[in-house]
């Protein structure tokens, strides 16, 4: 009997438990606090055992060694003719490009080209806080990159953003601009959140304090799209040019800087994208429609697992985690992917 209870707990942990099994397990737990203790202790032991293997892996590095070993054994082959021809074309292209660039550079002697840039980038799963040359504070999100001239020389205090950042800008006469693709956000001194992952084709600007101007490059000319006040937000689709304007809770939008997430009626697809950048994992839906579910959820400084459990409970969907890869599927399914 005792063995059976352990088997049920293990099945539950491995997510292979049947409906009947789950009912039996719940009933057994309710019988006595000793059973509950056995359940939670066993789960923690299983989790600890699993964490025994949490190591960085270097398959590419190891494969490179194996490949080298294989190649050593084989006799050197003559480079096939096609390959040689390709090398010639590549070399020719390179020469053309380089000379073209040199000509362009000599004709366009803009000092800006020789300015020194500082680039800060975060991989998915990491977010950082730092100061800009004018003492403005930036919180840079996961999977994001920020570039700016070293001493903010130039007519404006210009930064270039691909990703998400929250800015708390010091008031100065020189305007502070955030350029993300064709969209530029201009302020004098204020705090606001810009979410502009180039790969997501969307720029969203949310104002916390002060006033912000959002401009777009239209036929090479900057034009004002909208001025935003606190708790106002604009969200632009950079492919179609369509945008939406609404009021929102600005604190909720930049709560990520404090490791909190607040989503109001947001599609699971968007939530998953935020989680990817924050936790540094890849989240995929086994069916695209599953991402359309809209949820309202709050996470305060939780682990990925906790977040996925919550989302799973709220959405009625299931998730499967394999290392840094999470699959979201229907409730009675597990997800996975064939490696290509």
């Amino acid at each position: 009997m005792e063995d059976k209870s352990y088997q049920l707990i293990i099945d539950y942990f491995e997510k292979t438990i049947s409906d009947d099994g789950l009912t039996q397990l719940q009933e057994w737990i309710e019988v006595s606090p000793d059973n509950l203790a056995q359940f939670s202790e066993t789960i923690q032991i299983l989790e600890a055992s699993k964490s025994y293997f949490k190591q960085a892996e270097h398959p590419e590095k190891m494969w490179a060694k194996i490949n080298a070993h294989i190649s050593q054994q084989e006799s050197p082959k003559r480079v096939p003719v096609q390959k040689r021809r390709w090398l010639a074309y590549a070399a020719a292209c390179f020469l053309v490009c380089t000379s073209g660039w040199l000509i362009y550079k000599s004709l366009n002697n803009k000092p800006a080209l020789t300015a020194e840039y500082e680039v800060i980038s975060n991989a998915d799963g990491k977010h950082t806080k730092f100061l800009l040359p004018d003492s403005s504070t930036v919180y840079l999100g996961g999977g994001s990159k920020l570039k700016y001239t070293k001493n903010f020389t130039g007519k404006t205090r210009a930064v270039y953003l691909d990703g998400e950042a929250f800015f708390d800008v010091v008031h100065q006469a020189k305007p502070f601009t955030v350029k993300s693709g064709q969209i530029t956000t201009v302020v004098l001194g204020t705090s606001f959140n810009v979410k502009a992952y180039a790969a997501e084709n969307k720029v969203a600007v949310t104002v916390k304090t002060g006033k912000v101007g959002v401009m777009a490059d239209v036929h090479g000319e900057p034009q004002v799209v909208k001025y935003l006040l606190p708790n106002e937000q604009i969200s632009i689709n950079t492919v179609s040019g369509l945008y939406t304007f609404n009021t929102t809770d600005a604190r909720a939008v930049n709560s990520w800087i404090n490791n909190d997430f607040i989503f109001y009626d947001t599609s699971l697809k968007e939530i998953a994208a935020s989680m990817e950048h924050y936790y540094g994992v890849q989240i995929e839906f086994t069916e695209p429609d599953l991402g359309k579910v809209r949820l309202t959820a709050k996470f305060k400084n939780v682990s990925l697992k906790q977040a996925m459990e919550n989302l799973s409970a709220l959405s009625g969907l299931a998730y499967t985690q394999k290392g840094a890869h999470v699959f979201i599927s229907n409730n009675n399914q597990k997800g996975g992917k064939i490696m290509k």
């Binding site: 203790a37 923690q44 190891m62 682990s303």
Partner: protein
Amino acid sequence: MYPALTDEALMSLLKQNDHLALETLFSRHYKSLCQFCTVYTRDYTVAEEIIANLFMKLWDNRHDALILNVKSYLFASAKNLSLNHIQKKKAPVDFMEDLEMGQDVIHDRDTPFKILSGRESYNGILTVIDTLPASQRQVLLMSRIDNLDKQEISRILGISVRTVETTLYQSIKKLRLLLKGHHNSAFGS
């Protein structure tokens, strides 16, 4: 690569000198093999080296090898290579380290059963796992490896599937006892 082919189909291709078949086998089994080795070597980097050597050997012997079940072959070889490695390494010093680990458990004031996640908070439990009798420790850890089921564990360790199950339960029971043993407070209540 050839994701749709079985291990055995890949072996036939391997005998025809197909690199890609080796690469497919490698990426398919690399992670679980490394984790499996780590159970023996307790050092992940060493495990990776052992597995790399294993695949090099597999390539070298591709024509001679008469392998019926590829996965069993890979894990059995990994086990042998790991044990060889440990034999070479084994020195009196290692025994001392094992003893000291046991004593740390007694002095540990923190309750290992904290309701937290993350490797740091599992250190208490992990330390005690390494002091379990070898067979219990092996079964407990190997059963956590993805793509390694009870049948395979029974084959690799040379015990019946039923023994794998009972050893697993015993390891959990023993751990619960050890982790409770030196602390007055109940955990988590």
